[in-house]
Symmetry: C2
Subunit: 182 residues, 2 copies
């Protein structure tokens, strides 16, 4: 199963923290795929923060869901975050090196539990930041986003099981069931 | 629990067909409240049909969820429907008369299983259509929509438990749990 996420997406937090255990229990291998959902949502005029009524609900809903899952949520977190995409490109480096889950969980934990915004170059490991800023990784991150566009992805998190798309943390269990049936 | 729905909202179908049994099992009384979510979504520039990429997913997701719940879904259904709001105003009449669930389930069933678009005056009971077109019901339907606006509702279905809002068919079970805890 391909797991498309974005460090900066509130609902991605819930899936980032849950998918490891849930996928292991289901016996489904997961490929972690950070991508620039913000660029896609801007293109589609589909950014929820342009709708304050909906955004107010989203904050409350994410807080309620985090409590349900026993995940930290300290109200008033910085948003939006990672303006340059640095944290997300670093996630791609970590994916190449095989520790994307560990990197991403820690980035989200610091953001949601300690209000440390992802993408602050001063708080990032210099080796990781340098790699994340390389031409090679910038190009490959754009390619990941282009791949998501081609698949018809419009939001994050999104789970792909073959051609079957599941959007939103609410669909994680259904996506894993689908993957198991194949 | 207040159940805000719209005859014309695809995800409302899933909740309209499920809420009766689920709420009875939970022992939670439900007040059926049709409202004009389309007007609200237009005001908020939040109509999914303006985003064909997202809309393609929604069709697939609703079909998949309907199958999961054992509900009829005949692909290619007419959309959008009820351009004048007649079917929704008729639902308000039925709510006043105590048979809103029966009326609304049948309207959705005909739409999803038989492709009969709700809101066709030629296919509606003349007594119901006349009441739905009365000044009184038009005014009260606008008031229902205004009440939804004031509550911060931005989509359908929405479940209100006191001030606590739950949006989307995915949140029906959580809303019922919340109502039981009160």
């Amino acid at each position: 199963m391909d797991f498309f996420f974005f460090i900066g997406s509130l609902y991605s937090y819930l899936s980032v923290m849950r998918i490891g255990a849930a996928a292991r229990e289901a016996g489904v291998p997961v490929r972690w795929r950070p991508f620039n959902v913000r660029a896609i949502m801007l293109e589609q005029n589909n950014l929820p923060r342009s709708n304050p009524v909906k955004m107010k609900y989203i904050w409350r809903d994410v807080e309620r869901r985090a409590a349900r899952y026993g995940l930290p949520f300290k109200p008033g977190l910085p948003f939006p975050v990672d303006p340059q995409g640095l944290a997300n490109r670093a996630a791609l480096v970590a994916a190449d090196e095989g520790w994307c889950e560990q990197y991403t969980r820690e980035a989200f934990r610091r953001w949601f539990a300690e209000h440390q915004a992802p993408g602050d170059p001063g708080k990032m490991d210099p080796r990781l930041a340098a790699l994340a800023d390389s031409e090679e990784i910038r190009r490959r991150f754009d390619e990941q986003t282009q791949a998501a566009r081609r698949l018809g992805i419009f939001g994050a998190p999104t789970f792909m099981v073959g051609d079957e798309m599941f959007w939103g943390d609410d669909r994680l269990d259904e996506a894993l069931e689908w993957a198991k049936k194949r």
